[in-house]
Symmetry: C2
Subunit: 769 residues, 2 copies
């Protein structure tokens, strides 16, 4: 049972387990960033989740609900009957079964040999992909053959009865058929009024020769299907291609089109795709995947192929969750693979995912930061609503004009009947500083002045204005405090002076001051222009004063940084049982959230996160002391934790432990818990896997604006090879336990710190330990 890693590229399921359908649906999901779709089986099962999402197509199902990515009308369902018996893995006999996903080309495949209830042996091959070349295209193909004559019946079409777990998002749509074969279903989101056009067409081939079969139309409420019947001779191959498209009025390319024009374009697209056929369309997509892997592929030579697979798995999913063509949407906490977190963007993007893009595909990182820029109106509104100034970014973001979409209430307590307030939206204020950090990292790595001039400086100043207004003056001790917040550790709600938050605020203010002073010196025209928007000049003195007087909790004599004002005074209990947990949240079997607040227990990297992000600010001793203090107290009950601890375990040179944590981190989605991904993939965790490898085991960081490499491979690994772009210079880094090899593509020169030593690389360098 479970998932098998077949190679560095292929993951497969060899046994069909109906209870764990969701696992392969998510792990093997396909997409192209414009849209994503769970790897559901063609034939339906009662506990399946047929989700297809289009990035940015947010809608509120009902005025009382939070906006979310709606589940689009489904085209993945295809029902097949052999001699009148419905094909399902729950009937007849499964003689041979494999379902797999190939990360290299984004192809989902099922190969099944099935004995039908009337004892015919039938071979099926099911293939599906979402094109990386044609954003609107979903291709599906089924090959059927048998050593006996069989009667095949296929029902295929478009099903608009989909909801998000019961929440309806679309109107009852309009059904059309063109050329007796192309089905179209047009509908509209209820609140955001996005027009959606879903189309499907079919090609049928016998032994690769096109044939025409007259189909019967079968309609139901919100459903339009075609039924095909064919008597297949023994040993011939019946190939059924379903070419489908999704277009919407929210698509950037149709921003200026009328609905009629989009429909015209859509019908032309599908006619064109249909005539090209599945194989050509798939090849086009495969070529785009090759280009992607050429840009980002990290090769890991490990004793366990799973490590190689895991980093590619992360990069595959990061690709399919990110819309490369449109900077008006962020990345969902579950990508486009499930309804979890409603498609909203969190700090997951800036802190966990962005580094991958910054170092590999900086133009995509830029897109994602521009997305934040486009949500500034909402950040201003949120600041005003909370009595602050500047840009207070929402904890959860959706469409650029949606403002704050964090739910305020999480329903009533089922026992007491009292409404339960969600504090993350109001109290997790570090996100604004996290965005400053991401801009700093982006700029430091890319030197993209154009971005800074158009967006970066303005965003930073705007956020710093928020922080300036947010700080609370404690006149008794002449310092500025940040009280009543939630830090990174969500087990501690509404605490004062969370170190992570205060440090990040200080970092942001200092960066703002630095950039202000630099601009004042070098580009006052730009500063004046920005100042027209964000009025930074009036406040710069105050910012400087506050950045000096912001309270940074003092270390103990043992160098321990207090997580907040009271953490270190709380009870210490034996956490062994929970540290050894195989499922998260096991501590809740013994303690409730109120009790957890009174214990020195941490859900996820908090102080440790600070040590990672602002690593230049803390000495090795401090890092080690806090690592030793906090790691045993951190339960990693959030998927946003392990990767940070991998990096910091590497920093304190406990590589065995780092590797152990890395294996746990990759198991968040790829492990034995077959339900861990039911609601979708863990986006931040995937970005974290990349950081584990690059920041952790390769020891990549920035020291004084220079790229630093300090490899410390786990003993299980022989070699890592990774591409990186730094200051617009492409590098290929190859690391073994003995050799560090850095190759500069395009023969440019670059200064790099390797194992602490400044080295200028002209072409390629090879250092042997």
């Amino acid at each position: 049972m479970g998932l098998n890693i077949q190679s560095g590229w292929i993951i497969s399921e060899k046994e069909f387990k109906k209870e764990y359908i969701a696992k392969s649906e998510v792990i093997m999901a396909i997409g192209n960033g414009y849209m994503g779709s769970r790897a559901t089986n063609e034939e339906s099962y009662y506990n399946q989740t047929r989700n297809t999402f289009v990035a940015g197509s947010f809608n509120k199902s009902n005025e009382d609900e939070v906006t979310e990515l709606p589940n689009f009308p489904d085209i993945t369902n295809i029902e097949i009957f052999i001699d009148g018996y419905r094909f399902t893995l729950l009937d007849g006999e499964i003689i041979d079964f494999e379902k797999n996903l190939n990360l290299k080309n984004g192809k989902m495949l099922r190969k099944i040999t099935w004995r039908s209830p009337n004892d015919k042996i039938v071979d099926f091959e099911f293939m599906r992909f979402i094109s990386l070349n044609n954003l609107h295209l979903i291709g599906s193909k089924i090959n059927i053959s048998s050593n006996e004559n069989i009667k095949i019946k296929i029902i295929s079409g478009i099903n608009g009865q989909v909801t998000n777990s019961g929440a309806m998002h679309f109107t009852d749509g309009v059904k059309r058929i063109f050329d007796s074969n192309i089905l179209r279903y047009t509908t509209e989101t209820l609140e955001s009024k996005i027009n959606a056009i879903v189309q499907s067409s079919h090609n049928i081939l016998i032994n690769d020769k096109d044939i025409e079969i007259a189909a019967t139309m079968k309609m139901d409420r919100r459903i339009v299907n075609l039924i095909y019947n064919y008597d297949l001779e023994a040993n011939k191959v019946f190939k059924f291609e379903k070419i489908s498209t999704i277009h919407t009025s929210r698509d950037l390319e149709y921003a200026k089109c009328t609905f009629e024009e989009i429909k015209e374009k859509a019908i032309n697209d599908i006619k064109n795709y249909k005539s090209m056929g599945y194989d050509v369309l798939f090849n086009e997509s495969e070529i785009e995947w090759m280009k992607y892997w050429n840009d980002v592929d990290i090769k890991i030579d490990s004793k366990d192929i799973k490590d190689q697979f895991a980093i590619r798995f992360a990069q595959y999913h990061l690709r399919i969750m990110t819309n490369f063509e449109d900077n008006r949407m962020g990345i969902g906490a579950k990508g486009l693979t499930g309804e979890g977190y409603k498609g909203h963007s969190f700090w997951d993007t800036e802190i966990f995912i962005l580094p991958f893009y910054i170092y590999n595909l900086p133009e995509i990182a830029r897109n994602l930061l521009v997305y934040r820029y486009k949500t500034l109106d909402g950040a201003h509104n949120k600041a005003i609503e909370n009595g602050y100034k500047g840009a207070m970014f929402p904890w959860e973001s959706a469409w650029i004009s949606d403002d704050d979409v964090t739910p305020l209430w999480c329903g009533v307590n089922v026992v007491t009947g009292k409404a339960t307030k969600v504090y993350s939206g109001i109290k997790e204020q570090h996100i604004s500083a996290d965005i400053v950090y991401a801009i700093w990292l982006y700029y430091t790595v890319t030197k993209d002045n154009d971005f800074m001039e158009l967006y970066g400086y303005e965003m930073i100043f705007d956020i710093v204005l928020f922080i300036e207004s947010r700080l609370e003056y404690n006149k008794d001790i002449d310092r500025y405090e940040v009280n009543d917040v939630i830090g990174a550790d969500e087990y501690k709600e509404r605490i004062n002076n969370n170190t992570f938050t205060n440090n990040m605020f200080k970092f942001a203010m200092n960066l703002g001051i630095k950039y202000y002073d630099e601009l004042k010196e070098n580009n006052e025209a730009l500063l004046l222009k920005i100042n027209e928007k964000v009025l930074i000049s009036n406040k710069i003195e105050s910012i400087k004063e506050k950045s000096n007087k912001i309270f940074i909790p003092e270390m103990t004599k043992d160098l321990i940084i207090p997580q907040d004002d009271t953490y270190l005074s709380k009870e210490i209990i034996d956490l062994t049982k929970y540290k050894n947990q195989t499922y998260i949240d096991s501590i809740f079997e013994d303690y409730n959230i109120e009790q957890l607040r009174e214990i020195q227990v941490t859900k996820q990297a908090d102080v440790i996160m600070l040590l990672q992000l602002l690593n230049n600010n803390f000495s090795k001793d401090i890092v080690k002391a806090n690592w030793d203090y906090y790691e045993p107290k951190t339960l990693h009950d959030s998927s946003l934790s392990l990767a940070t601890h991998v990096v910091m375990a590497s920093e304190v040179n406990d590589i065995d432990y780092a590797y152990k944590l890395f294996r746990k981190a990759i198991d968040i989605d790829l492990g034995k818990n077959m339900n861990s991904s039911d609601k979708g993939i863990h986006s931040a965790s995937l970005g974290g896997i990349w950081q584990s490898v690059v920041y952790g085991f390769a020891g990549v960081k920035i020291v004084n604006n220079i790229l630093s490499i300090n490899p410390r491979l786990p003993k299980e690994w022989n070699e890592i090879e990774m591409p990186l772009i730094f200051n617009d210079i492409e590098l290929l880094i190859n690391l073994t336990h003995e050799v560090i090899n850095v190759k500069v593509i395009d023969n440019e020169a670059i200064n790099v710190v390797i194992n602490g030593k400044n080295i200028k690389i002209q072409n390629e360098i090879r250092l042997v330990k």
Copy 2:
């Protein structure tokens, strides 16, 4: 495969066929008129339809959609795991299986012996009922035992993710738990703002002894579940009772309550029911069923037990689709068993269903007519919108204040893209006269003067005012016409002077005139009072004139009554193929609707319907001539056709043919077509089955306001026994081929026409042929 009739009371399915789940869901549906629920299996299957409807709880999912009965949060789903293996009939091995419904007590039962995938033999008994005694109560019970020790896990709760085929009707509700065991889910319809309270509680017994098991709560969006784990020893019996309730703010009994008060009442109800336990609750319901059968049971001694079963099946379903306690809602065309026709009421009620209630439970017939009275505002509005006066009843009705709910458009033509107008709402105008007919029948049978004074006269006058305004004067030939209508036969759209319509209009006008004159003579005070509302006096002369001059299409020399102005001039084709069809609508494989209009082909009883309803107006010769003409041209492609033809075949004394048609009529739901009931039961057809037996084979009709019996039993039958109430006198009629026995309950005297002879019955009469 298929359904087996076990006895006169029990229908069963002996083999589980997953493709035909909908058939048993509908045929074995349970209900009490307040609510109804499909007989879904406890464990889920991908193609199930879990529908639970509450009569009258109409809501519009979206402003563009038509109001419909929403599917209520589900409590029927219970998932069971044995030793970790999910119980499903698609896994393991079915050693023994039976699903059945007992009409006598409304109990749905499944008995299954199952071999689990790990080779344990487990016996299951699943029972469910909706109480006829406690309107809000749904009881469910599962007995599990094995000859080995087994680990049982049960997941049971409330699922609010339900929709009507994708159309959402309820808000995301509020979940509560009381006493660690009672679950409550409160929600609200989106447009009609009806509060719904759905509750479930559980009792667990081992060998009939109550035990307490701590349950774990499992929540999801719109879902609240409890999970129970229990290690059952071999040969002990684990009994799991799920006691659930539904209450709404639309319930008549809570009309004056606040939502808080209803919630209070609901929680008290379920606590009470839970403490009573399944068996006691079921017994209470069973007693109510006994009373019902005592009132209505028709006994048929036939060569085929199916005939006996079929009449009870009709009466069972008529009971569970009719809310006996509330006259603010009608009967849905599919009862409460499916989404078909959206729970709307049509002429099906007045013409097909009402006779059963009039002759057996007149107070319920009265309720249903009062429902129409309560929709008069909508009927007035419809008249005004169409430029008429008086009460023009809508073709489709829902909640009393909903006005006309007939859809105006049935979506665009998929090929042409043009919107398709639905003409039934505008053109099927006979429904208003059908209501007059129903009032006449009700009054004639019951002599309920109170009803007439409060509602009946007013409704008739109001409808007659509509008809008066509706008639079109053809001054060339000095007659009144009714052009551009749809008659009973829906294959002929927008025709002129449909005989059925014109005759029914004339009947209504004449009845109005008669009652007007009688009231003027005997109760002018009442007439004046009614006239304040409906202004009949001003128009009475005009009505009299028009009733004399309304065009009644003339018979041909062969006594054929033309169905409309042009029917008899249309082409006559060989319809043999379609008359022999095994599925309806087969003619559409060869002709489209436009072509059908040009052929002498009839979808459903039209002229024949007229001959049945106004049987006193037509001589035997006319009936015979038209029977011979129209029956061969009628395809019975509507379920509102066969029963009428059974009655008229009996009238022309072709009893063999009548019986043949009767068998077809009962097969509409009980026949071999396993998909015929997917969207719900055929309500009108069930009323028609009663008419087939009582009007057809027993030859019951009214002649000069006197009850007439003229039995003509099919040779396959030995005996019929039926209760009837006529003029408030209860009769028990027993008929064989040789003997007619009529017993008067309560020893009152009554005049009855038997085989054409007036007979006064004092006590009991026995006539031998």
